[in-house]
Symmetry: C2
Subunit: 133 residues, 2 copies
Amino acid sequence: MPTSARSASRAELVGEWRELLERHAKVSCALEKSLNAEHGIGLSEFEVLDRLVDAAKGENRMSDLAADIYLSQSALSRAVARLEDDGLVRRAMCDNDRRAIFVCLTDKGREVAERARPTHREILGRTWDVAAD
Amino acid sequence: MPTSARSASRAELVGEWRELLERHAKVSCALEKSLNAEHGIGLSEFEVLDRLVDAAKGENRMSDLAADIYLSQSALSRAVARLEDDGLVRRAMCDNDRRAIFVCLTDKGREVAERARPTHREILGRTWDVAAD
DNA sequence: CACCATTCCATGCGTGTGCATTGAATGCAA
DNA sequence: TTGCATTCAATGCACACGCATGGAATGGTG
């Protein structure tokens, strides 16, 4: 059973959409604040780091990341730029295709990512339910 | 059965969250574009208009709207300002409490809201499922 | 080879957002 | 009454976003 009710009527769909909007606003706002306060990164930056830890092969092109994430290509480019400024990530040339850029975790980046994960999961669990304030 | 799986494990919750992020990005982006192209309003503006049509008593204070919607107080204030510039909404004084502002639909506003609703529902139905591109 | 469409990433620009603050209006308490 | 904390909506500010564009590199075609 996926999250979406496949046979939802129009009205039900609108209701689900409003629920989604509300939850999105509440959760992402809480994540943004906590990640920023405790680890000095935003939600977009966390999502990028998180992907990099999983796919840790060191062969992550910008374009691959962009496909996996909800960010536009330009937003990703800037998120990576911020991560690079913070020393959490490094841009590397790709010898095969010199248009492409590899994004690599630094040691500091991996460290921050792994410390941030518990925070992420905790806030997620705490704010997921609509009722909870 | 609500949208959320109440007993989701940590990993499942993260998965659901990513799904939500993806869907939110896809749907809201599509809504934004279609509403703008066909009716000249953004998604936030549509949400405000939609609330006003439902609660059409003419007694909608900014603060009440802010509570019902995923927008911050300042974002709502600006959304209403844009709607007012477009002549879709009118701000009225509240005699009981002269700090408060009533937001009222104009005829044009009601018209636009009612023409925009089908678009909204259609785009929602078309983009809701993750697989659909 | 020369040419051109395509792909990749970065960036200028306009816009919408949240946070913090402002100023007005209110309500309560001394 | 005066004084002060609270509530309401608007706004300055910084910032992240998407769109559109740009330059570099690539791949194919004549």
